[in-house]
Symmetry: C2
Amino acid sequence: MQRTQFGDRACSIARTLDLIGEPWSPLILRDVMVGIRRFDQIQAELGISRKVLTERLKWLVERGVLARSEYSTRPRRYEYVLTDEGVDLCDVLIAMARFGDRWLAGPAGPPVLYRHRPCGHVAPASPRCEHCDQPIRADTIDVLPGPGANPNTEANQPA
Amino acid sequence: MQRTQFGDRACSIARTLDLIGEPWSPLILRDVMVGIRRFDQIQAELGISRKVLTERLKWLVERGVLARSEYSTRPRRYEYVLTDEGVDLCDVLIAMARFGDRWLAGPAGPPVLYRHRPCGHVAPASPRCEHCDQPIRADTIDVLPGPGANPNTEANQPA
DNA sequence: ACAGATGGGTTCCCTTGAGGAACTAACCCT
DNA sequence: AGGGTTAGTTCCTCAAGGGAACCCATCTGT
């Protein structure tokens, strides 16, 4: 399907999309996040084709989001676990889950609940400003060029 | 490319992906978020084909993420603005931007800075538990079936 | 009144990646 | 030896993404 690559843009959103922008990657990550870590388990749960799953796992391991962890030596078997980077990437999934819960869940309510282990409560996660602790929303943000902004581009090279 | 639809899964992440899972949608939303709102502006900034941009905008308007706002009556011209749902959806973009800034930015630093208007500070947004205000990370979450969980599915139907 | 510009799409064709099913490989158990 | 489990690989098809060219209504300058 001749996909445009986003990774070379001066935009952190585009770069993140380059990493997990194609279909399946976020769902694979979610499976790993909730404890579904082995090839066949992921394949069965998602209904993804084995070919595509192989490709995605390899890509995610190469990019350092997942790591292969040997869980059996003699028949050499690996399961996939989140790296530190992968755990951070899950913040994006958590944001997606919250949005889906709020806007796409229908009358039955959210299909899955997330319990915050330290406090024991089921509560949504919302983005807060790390400086003032207040909620951050798209309409309370101003966008400024950062140090990594590409100087030789035509004015608008956002986010 | 014969893409699997995710919208009917009992999973808020899959449903959100159904909405903005294909390439470009998140970048289109980002453009709108930062003030690039007209067809030609978006097309030029992203380098997206006009065909795909037309399709995406129509889809996002149909799904209630964007709305068309008339900015000129005589030559009837519209620009695209975020709905309330769209503003909420931008939380996902903000999470992506934060991740990209941390892990994909390179030595030059983040290409774009986000200033929280109410407090005036440039600070990252991090997900916090709405109950205890502490940071939420993938490894501090337990997953439970929610009210909208599909009862007739095989045990694992996560997130 | 006409030429050219502008904004916002639409049409056509090509390529490429997703999907699916079948096959392979390495090892285990009995 | 035969069957089972796990983790891939190969091959083919088909439709979605990409690009470029085209279209149409309206404005602006002269």
